[in-house]
């Protein structure tokens, strides 16, 4: 049978009511065939795993060598509670830590600041000073565990506290492994936890690049994040294109700051979302690797292989979870985790079923971790590398992703680059439009979400939720206030004054931040110095 004969046969039959489209509203053909991947060249488009352009994976052995890192994002209350949760997760077989901070810490306020009222310890752990950081990692061997920290605008300060906490345990900084998210561009675009304007923020980032190269060489200095862009409503293609565009902007900033691309590019890592559409997600990850490798080599002249490798963490899509029938979220998360693994992720966070309602309970987190362990040990998907390569559908989707991303790069360039496009609300408007379209599709039932607009049950969910005791905030406020009474305040003042001088000049800020942190200056005090010198960012919101 020829393709056209099949087409005729298909058309003669009934087609059920669609629409047949991805979760990003991309229409999908009923069948993909060799016609869809004409000109496909195995060597040029795929290569072997660990070989340029790395479409099939960044290592020759992938999960046959070692499994992905199972890394559950966690943190709540005070450092003491979070420390206990981390030790629980490590005892359950988790292989890396991932710290969630509360909003006050993320925004650079101490717990006793009026703006922190009601937010302390709510969505993550409250960290005010090195003293809290020491408690957070008590009895955890920081030379053996890698730690990822979701911190952006004040990343330099929190990272300095982590390095200092390790030093106080006798662990030198060059032994530390982990990641700071430190991706300010996606904050302006999507997540909106900014403090300073873009230019000084980019300076802090390039200072971190330089400091890491000399002092913390195994640290991932930026986790260039599509996750939040997707959660804000972007499509898979927008997530891919905007994230990579941010990545290239960091590369250009590093080069402009006088660094050789191969001196910092190997420490750049990525963080993607995994939403419900399995094949679209897999194509996204494969395209991401290929685009990054090609551009890094061809446009930025990277020579080291490690500079070309797009290493990424994945988190399943929080925005795909439903408050209705929350147990169904276990199933959603399992499919999303599957897509991430089939896409070759280096580490994975699987969401807990109750995260749409509150921070997860211990039981919900355990099921989420077990979901990964079942994927790894029972399903067999780890036995062979990039198992979907050569599928007409997957290769066509991967090509389509790459072409779509290139088109976005052209538009961003026309707007004057990423920072300029942010100033023109380009990304923000694209994302708001996509989010609104998605919502409309659900309301018009063009898209079925089980338990939300179809297969509805009236019963209220009967699950236990984690509660944050308001006493935690009061305790944290007392602790930071007591710290200010007991530390050497002359030393704090001196280190902060030196930091201010450095901020006014061009010296690397990291050593000065380290001094202030060691003197037990608080996060809020250090950020206040930067606010005074750098000012604060304001956005013109669009909807």
């Amino acid at each position: 049978m020829s393709f056209s004969a099949w087409q005729e046969a298909y058309r003669s039959l009934r087609e059920r009511k669609g629409p047949f489209m991805t979760v990003s509203s991309v229409p999908i053909e009923p069948l993909y065939s060799p016609d869809g991947v004409k000109g496909f060249d195995y060597e040029k488009d795929l290569g072997y795993p660990g070989e340029y352009p790395y479409t099939r994976g960044i290592r020759p052995n992938m999960y046959r060598g070692r499994l992905w890192t199972m890394r559950q994002f966690a943190g709540f209350g005070s450092a003491r509670e979070s420390n206990e949760r981390y030790k629980f997760l490590l005892s359950q077989g988790q292989t890396g830590l991932s710290v969630a901070f509360d909003m006050a810490t993320i925004m650079g306020y101490d717990s006793d600041h009026p703006r922190a009222y009601g937010e302390v310890g709510r969505v993550g752990v409250a960290i005010d000073s090195l003293a809290d950081m020491e408690v957070l990692f008590q009895d955890i061997p920081l030379d053996q565990v890698s730690t990822s920290m979701t911190i952006n605008a004040p990343a330099a300060v929190i990272w300095a506290m982590y390095i200092a906490a390790a030093e106080k345990k006798g662990i030198p900084s060059h032994k530390l492994t982990g990641t700071i998210q430190n991706d300010i561009l996606k904050e302006y675009i999507a997540q909106k936890s900014w403090i300073f304007p873009p230019e000084p923020s980019m300076r802090l980032i390039t200072d971190i690049f330089k400091f890491a190269r000399e002092q913390v060489p195994k640290w991932n200095t930026v986790s260039i994040s599509g996750y939040h862009i997707r959660e804000a409503g972007a499509t898979a293609l927008q997530e891919l294109a905007f994230t990579l565009a941010d990545g290239f902007a960091y590369v250009e900033a590093g080069i402009k700051a006088g660094l050789d691309v191969d001196d910092f590019a190997p420490r750049l890592s990525f963080f993607f979302n995994s939403h419900m559409d399995i094949f679209e997600e897999i194509a996204k990850y494969r395209a991401a690797r290929r685009i990054w490798a090609r551009r890094m080599k061809e446009k930025y002249g990277a020579k080291k292989q490690e500079s070309l490798l797009l290493r990424f963490h994945t988190q399943t899509a929080g925005c795909s979870l439903t408050a209705q029938q929350p147990e169904n979220n276990i199933v959603r998360t399992a499919y999303e985790g599957l897509a991430a693994v089939l896409g070759g992720t280096q580490s994975l966070h699987t969401n807990s079923m109750d995260e749409v309602l509150a921070l997860p309970t211990e039981k919900a987190v355990q099921i989420a971790l077990r979901t990964q362990q079942i994927l790894a040990y029972e399903t067999g998907v780890v036995n062979t590398i990039d198992p979907l390569a050569g599928s007409y559908f997957i290769e066509a989707l991967t090509n389509q992703m790459e072409e779509g991303a290139e088109e976005y790069f052209r538009r961003i360039e026309e707007l004057g680059g990423v920072l300029s496009a942010i100033g023109q609300n380009f990304f923000q408007q694209e994302i708001a439009d996509a989010a609104y379209r998605y919502q409309q599709e659900i309301e018009q039932k063009e898209r079925i979400i089980v338990g939300v607009n179809e297969f509805i049950t009236e019963a209220k969910p009967d699950i236990d939720l984690l509660k944050i005791d308001p006493e935690i905030e009061r305790g944290q406020v007392r602790r930071v206030q007591a710290l200010r009474q007991t530390r050497d305040n002359l030393l704090v003042q001196r280190t902060l004054a030196e930091l201010e001088q450095a901020a006014l000049g061009t010296d690397n800020l990291m050593p000065k931040i380290m001094n202030a942190v060691h003197a037990y200056a608080t996060e809020g005090e250090i950020v206040a110095v930067f606010k005074k010198v750098f000012g604060e960012y304001r956005e013109q919101a669009v909807f």
């Binding site: 909003m103 006050a104 993320i106 925004m107 306020y109 703006r115 922190a116 009222y117 009601g118 937010e119 709510r122 969505v123 904050e187 997540q191 909106k192 936890s193 959660e231 804000a232 409503g233 925005c319 439903t322 408050a323 209705q324 749409v356 309602l357 509150a358 921070l359 708001a432 989010a435 609104y436 919502q439 659900i442 309301e443 979400i449 939300v452 607009n453 209220k460 939720l465 944050i468 956005e539 919101a541 909807f543």
Partner: protein, 141 residues
């Protein structure tokens, strides 16, 4: 004769930056013919109430995904009382557990709270019904 348009302030209080919900709701209310002012991010309760009074809105809708609902709603309500502006409807949405909803509704600190998955049309209908917009004696000062 055309009726005066309903004016709504969509507010994003606290430090949290998750504004997807706030923006989708703002746009849906605008598409439903309402005049929508979006506060922007990182607003204090004081800033929100001040903007609401200045903009002479009928409704304040707060979007909260940070778990801070039990401090923010009572604070906004108290400020509205202080300003003699209790006639402004205070509603909200976000990741708010059922038991918190019950407490906030009972105490009168919120008139209605909408959780994830609520069709935007339901919120439009609720506001219109509550303001009696389809029956005439509704007017702006």
């Amino acid at each position: 004769m055309s009726q005066p348009r309903i004016r709504v302030l969509v507010g994003k209080p606290g430090l949290d930056g998750h504004d997807r919900g706030a923006k989708v709701i703002a746009r849906a209310l605008r598409d439903a013919g309402m005049e929508v002012i979006y506060s922007g991010l990182h607003q204090t309760p004081e800033q929100i109430v001040e903007a609401a009074i200045q903009e002479d809105v009928d409704v304040i809708g707060l979007s909260i995904l940070s778990g801070a609902q039990m401090t923010i709603f009572p604070r906004v309500k108290a400020l509205l009382k202080e300003q003699n502006s209790e006639d402004i409807l205070l509603i909200g949405g976000g990741t708010i557990p059922d038991e918190d909803i019950e407490v906030l509704i009972q105490s009168g600190d919120a008139e209605a709270l909408f959780t994830p998955g609520t069709p935007t049309g339901d919120i439009v209908a609720w506001i219109k019904e509550r303001l009696g917009v389809d029956s005439p004696p509704y007017e702006h000062a």
